[in-house]
């Protein structure tokens, strides 16, 4: 592989990291409150409200059931409104965020539901308000599990970002298709796949480590 190719690979790696990292941060900022609301508005939880729960749930499900490639095209007007353009790496961040946010909302919901009801009850018995219960009990108690969920979302985003090439978003997936597949450069194809594998492994390892560090349930 030529120096030129290695430069290209590094550039694509940078693009992928840029897209995915910004998208995961934005998606978490949106998905976290969504997940919290989805949890606490359940009918047996601390702020039951079936209207809010069902409407939010329906929106989340609708977004999650749209295939990414279609979502990306469908929200082009929105992307143009936010970024000013519908083409390019920055533009790809918008659909990536929108696809990851409901996913994160669901993983956070399931993490929060794992929090022992007895612990929440204990906090209520001490006079904690719903906001205090969310901030001081539910989130800290499930943080280790939320970290694993976000790791999962991050890996899914790395996969989805490969499709961003369709919008001229660049990144590793784009590189693999344009050079590896369309120009029959097998070495580029293999190189990108290897880089992707290393990335995913790294993300998962760091996620696992962080989660283990945060989990105080199994200390000896």
């Amino acid at each position: 592989m030529s120096d030129n190719m290695i430069d290209l690979l590094m550039k694509s790696l940078g693009e992928t990291c840029y897209m995915v990292l910004i998208a995961i941060v934005l998606a978490t900022l949106i998905g976290l409150p969504l997940g919290v609301i989805l949890t606490v508005t359940r009918k047996d939880h601390i702020m039951p409200n079936s209207l809010v729960h069902n409407v939010l749930g329906a929106i989340v499900n609708a977004t999650r059931s749209t295939p990414f490639i279609i979502l990306m095209v469908a929200i082009i007007p929105l992307t143009r409104m936010i970024v000013g353009s519908s083409i390019g790496t920055t533009a790809a961040i918008v659909p990536l965020t929108i696809t990851a946010a409901p996913f994160i909302a669901r993983v956070i919901e399931s993490s929060l539901l794992e929090v022992d009801r007895g612990v929440i009850e204990a906090a209520q018995s001490m006079g904690a308000s719903p906001l205090q219960i969310i901030g001081k009990v539910m989130l800290p108690e499930s943080l280790h599990s939320i970290v694993l969920g976000i790791t999962l979302a991050l890996i899914a985003l790395i996969g989805a970002s490969a499709m961003a090439g369709a919008l001229g978003g660049g990144g590793l997936g784009d590189l693999a298709i344009r050079y590896g597949y369309q120009r029959f450069q097998m070495d580029v194809m293999i190189a990108t796949v290897v880089v992707l594998i290393i990335m995913v492994q790294g993300v998962q390892t760091v996620g696992n480590m962080l989660s283990r560090k945060l989990n105080k349930n199994k200390l000896s």
Binding site: G118, A122, S125, H144, K216
Partner: protein, 353 residues
């Protein structure tokens, strides 16, 4: 201190409504340990949760320390709950917080400044003898230690009332004893009113002043622990008492052929209970008389003592004696009358050959 007036709780569901608690009236006095005993599903969990409104009653009124909780707004109720500590069967500690931070939790909620919190938590950890475990996480503690943390946490905001929801049910007998000892201790030292629900008669026997027995959402019997224990009226209560006070007949006695009436050559098997109500004004309770030698001399019977023990109901001692009385029909009957008149509780088990 605590007053429940006609408190009701019904769970409504499509499959049918469940009346977990029917019109219940309870009054708990300042500084006493009040036990509520019942089998699982009897409604005791619902009852204790109505006291701090974790379960909102569907009818009736709840008063704690003169305030009507059932008439409060959410915000007022949260404030009032700071006056009511609660401990749980499964401890319900925050796994992500250290012992110190768990005890600090209720104080943080109240917005106490950090330096004050540190001071108060220190005192509480001394009280439950866990200062050296301050930086441990709950998963590093034994069950008894976890419950001590739970107690320290419940006492953090200086509550007037402590609710105990089966606090010892998940602990081994040894640890149960030490936790009960701690509860007794803080009850005396802080003049704290304690309400505890349990299904274990040993727990009631160990520390309660008064007790209520609950079955199918109804309080079926209530009174001083001593009275309920020694003179149970209801079948369920008798069953509970039996769990700690069962008469064990040794295998050498042939109970197969036991009869309820005298037959020639038979021996009477009887259980005598010597009570001390603690009230010196009351008539003799038999514990101060040489009862056995008296019936031997007066009625010419022979008495064989099979087993005996002295036990305590909280602080009051009571003794039981399992005896065989041998003699003719009349002298046995005379002996029984004499024992009854002496104020000793007599339970005739039967005549054996």
């Amino acid at each position: 201190m605590i007053k429940l007036v006609n408190v009701e709780k019904t769970y409504f569901s499509k499959a049918g409504n469940i009346e977990a608690l029917k019109k219940t009236n309870i009054e708990v006095r300042q500084g006493e340990i009040f036990g509520i005993i019942g089998l699982s599903g009897a409604g005791k969990s619902t009852l204790i949760r109505c006291i701090n409104m974790l379960e909102v009653p569907t009818g009736g009124q709840v008063f704690v320390d003169g305030q009507e909780l059932t008439a409060m707004s959410e915000a007022q109720l949260r404030k009032a709950r700071q006056n009511i500590g609660m401990i749980f069967q499964h401890f319900n500690l925050l796994a992500s917080r250290t012992v110190f931070d768990n005890v600090a939790f209720p104080l943080e909620i109240q917005g106490m400044p950090k330096d004050k919190i540190a001071e108060r938590v220190g005192e509480l950890l001394d009280l439950v003898q866990l200062r050296d475990r301050a930086d441990y996480y709950p998963s590093q503690l034994s069950g008894g230690q976890k419950q001590r943390v739970g107690i320290a946490r419940a006492l953090a905001s200086n509550p007037k009332v402590l609710l105990s929801d089966e606090a010892t049910s998940a602990l081994d007998p040894q640890t149960t004893k030490s936790i009960l000892q701690l509860l007794r201790d803080i009850n005396k030292r802080l003049n704290l009113t304690i309400v505890m629900i349990t299904h274990q008669m040993e727990v009631v026997k160990e520390i309660c002043d008064r007790v209520a027995v609950i079955e199918n959402g109804v309080i079926i019997e209530e009174g001083s622990m001593y009275k309920v224990f020694t003179e149970p009226q209801e079948e369920t209560t008798k069953e509970f008492v039996k769990t700690v006070n069962d008469i064990k007949i040794p295998p050498m006695i042939d109970t197969e052929s036991m009869k309820q009436n005298y037959f020639p050559g038979s021996r009477l098997l009887a259980n005598l209970t010597f009570l001390d109500s603690g009230d010196r004004q009351e008539k003799s309770t038999g514990a101060d008389q040489p009862l056995v030698s008296a019936i031997i001399k007066r009625f010419g019977v022979d008495v064989n003592i099979i087993s005996g023990k002295v036990d305590y109901l909280k602080d009051l001692p009571y003794g039981t004696l399992l005896v065989e009385i041998m003699g003719d029909e009349k002298s046995i009957a005379d002996s029984l009358r004499y024992i009854r008149e002496a104020g000793v509780k007599l339970e005739v088990i039967g005549y054996v050959g």
